[in-house]
């Protein structure tokens, strides 16, 4: 398939490379031209703008930072689009913003789908991302061969915005999950108990989770390199809390977690992995 890929950051670059590996013809565009070089070296074509990237392609995929970036990129795509083009945004943005972009693009004859991912840089490189799609059946069918090059667990969740709702739910679970493991470890340590042994014991029971296993191990190793940066998790939790505010939805656990992530960003840990919330807990309880 002829696919345009826009946004070649820490996630977008390996995702686009996996599309090339899957035998697709890929055109790329990125705000910083040097980001395009690794893809051009691997056989992709370069474009001068999102509009140019969209021209002559059947599918456009974007992977950028935030809702205003997606809206801007997609305005360009709409200018270059032939009728019937499917545009898929895989960034994490607010469900309401995704729905609005969908409405705007429909007016230009573009079928828009939100399809955020979970699995981080590791999943993007390995092509094992979880992909949560929201939009029409036709758009999903069109994008599916591309999704299969980038991910393993691919679910068409529902209509426009539904993918972002699933992603927000994912961030609730992972945000609170990381905080829960960090609190359990702080609790063990303050009681003079070896947290490694606690983790080992819990992995066999109902408290088992991938977060306890993977993030827990990195907490034990005190390896705070990202992974998933705290400021990005903070941004995603803000999407959750804003949506809850708009809907009149009581989310006390997410609210408390979001405040911890605010404090991480404010105290200079924004570029570290979200497991650095352990350090914040240790500081609050005099465990440093």
């Amino acid at each position: 398939m002829k696919i345009a890929f826009i946004g070649l950051g820490i996630m977008g670059r390996p995702m686009a490379l996996n599309l090339l590996k899957g035998g697709h013809q890929v055109t790329v565009w990125a705000r910083r031209a040097e980001s395009m070089q690794p893809l051009l070296d691997a056989g992709a074509k370069g474009a001068g703008s999102p509009a140019e990237a969209a021209q002559g392609n059947e599918l456009v995929i974007s992977m950028v930072a935030d809702a205003p970036d997606v809206a801007e990129v997609m305005r360009g795509v709409a200018q270059g689009a032939a009728p019937g083009l499917v545009a898929v945004d895989m960034s994490t943005i607010a469900p309401a913003a995704a729905r609005q972009i969908g409405v705007d693009l429909a007016a230009a004859g573009v079928d828009f789908m939100d399809a955020p991912v979970s699995g981080g840089e590791v999943g993007a490189i390995a092509g094992t991302l979880s992909i949560m799609a929201g939009g029409s059946d036709a758009a999903f069918a069109k994008a599916k061969p591309a999704f299969e090059c980038m991910g393993k667990n691919i679910v068409h969740v529902g209509a426009s915005g539904a993918g972002q709702v699933a992603k927000a739910a994912n961030q609730i679970l992972t945000g609170m999950g990381v905080l829960a493991v960090a609190e359990a470890f702080a609790f063990a340590a303050k009681n003079g108990v070896d947290r490694g042994k606690v983790r080992e014991a819990l992995l066999g029971g109902f408290a088992y989770s991938r977060i306890l296993e993977n993030h827990g191990q990195r907490m034990l190793d005190r390896n705070f390199k990202p992974g998933f940066k705290s400021w990005m998790h903070e941004k995603d939790l803000n999407i959750v809390m804003q949506t809850a505010h708009e809907l009149g939805l009581c989310l006390p656990g997410s609210a408390a977690t979001a405040q911890m992530f605010n404090a991480m960003v404010g105290s200079g840990m924004g570029e570290e992995d979200s497991i650095a919330v352990l350090k914040l807990l240790e500081r609050l309880s005099g465990q440093e």
Binding site: E234, N238, M241, Q242, A244, H245, L247, G248, L249, C250, L251, P252, A255, A256, A258, Q259, M260, N262, A263, V265, G266, S267, G270
Partner: protein, 284 residues
């Protein structure tokens, strides 16, 4: 002096009347002209027209977006107000929005103060509002006689936006205190103790507060008709948490209270008094 008023709700209407009573000539604009009925004022067709007629304009409306559209939008105040005239925005909006509007108006030589108020509808009627001003000190001095028609406690907090920061702090403390009063009433009731007696006893001690006085009484009497509509506090908490996020500050209590307000909204009590936080506790 010719004074304009935009926003003639529970707060704006009595404020406008106080300014008129002090001998000033009143011009008003209202999205729904009927809300200006029976006011001793000239009704203007657009904010721009009101701006052309007045030396000082007060606005007291709901959201950042509303204030932006009334000031900077098509037919907005900025199209009419003369260089050297003063906009006093008494609305509660985001500090960032206040700074943005002030900067835009400054480009046309129009002065602005963010001057949110505390004291509620009763304070507006009694002219006992607390006024928290952000902007240039000299501009505040020019309009201080007008502000004195509305309340005696007028504090210059700092530059533009500072008044809104003070108001955000005010809202955090007040609504958290309402939640604390509600939880105390809930505990007393659940323990089979007379809430009225508990409130009465506390009024003389270290926990005494205006919130406990006013909101505590509403809770005891189960009178949830609005003084201040809870939806406005809900809106304010959205602003406060957004400001906390932008500053990288952790506010665990405010965040928890915000969730109780979300639950209140979900129950459809947004137009009732914030004392309804007691009813939220009774749901669980």
């Amino acid at each position: 002096m010719k004074v304009g008023f935009i926003g003639l709700g529970a707060m704006g209407r009595p404020m406008a009347l106080h300014v008129h009573k002090a001998g000033h000539e009143l011009c008003v604009w209202a999205r729904r002209p009927e809300s200006a009925a029976d006011l001793p004022a000239t009704l203007c067709a657009t904010p721009a027209e009101l701006g052309r007629r007045c030396e000082v304009v007060f606005t007291i409306i709901t959201s950042s977006a509303d204030v932006e559209s009334v000031t900077l939008g098509t037919d907005g105040l900025s199209e009419g107000m003369a260089p050297g005239s003063v906009l006093v925005d008494c609305s509660t909006i985001a500090p960032d929005a206040a700074r943005h509007i002030a900067a835009q108006l400054a480009g046309k030589g129009i002065h602005m103060l963010d001057a949110p108020v505390s004291g509620g509808a009763q304070g507006a009627i009694d002219a006992t509002l607390a006024i928290m001003a952000g902007g240039e000190a000299a501009v505040l001095e020019r309009v201080r006689p007008l502000l004195h028609c509305l309340g005696q406690r007028i504090v210059h907090i700092g530059p533009n936006g500072a008044g809104q920061v003070a108001k955000a702090c005010n809202q955090m403390i007040m609504v958290a205190a309402i939640e604390a009063a509600a939880e105390a009433m809930r505990l007393a009731a659940a323990s089979g103790v007379d809430c009225a007696k508990v409130r009465q006893a506390m009024a003389g001690g270290s926990a005494a507060s205006r919130v406990l006085d006013v909101m505590g009484e509403r809770m005891v009497g189960r009178d949830f008709a609005a003084g201040i509509e809870a939806r406005l506090h809900h809106k304010d908490f959205g602003l406060v948490l957004e400001a906390a996020r932008k500053s990288g500050v952790s506010m665990p209590l405010t965040a928890t209270v915000a969730q109780q307000l979300n639950a209140l909204m979900a129950q459809g009590w947004g137009r009732d008094d914030t004392a309804s936080l007691l009813r939220v506790l009774e749901l669980a």
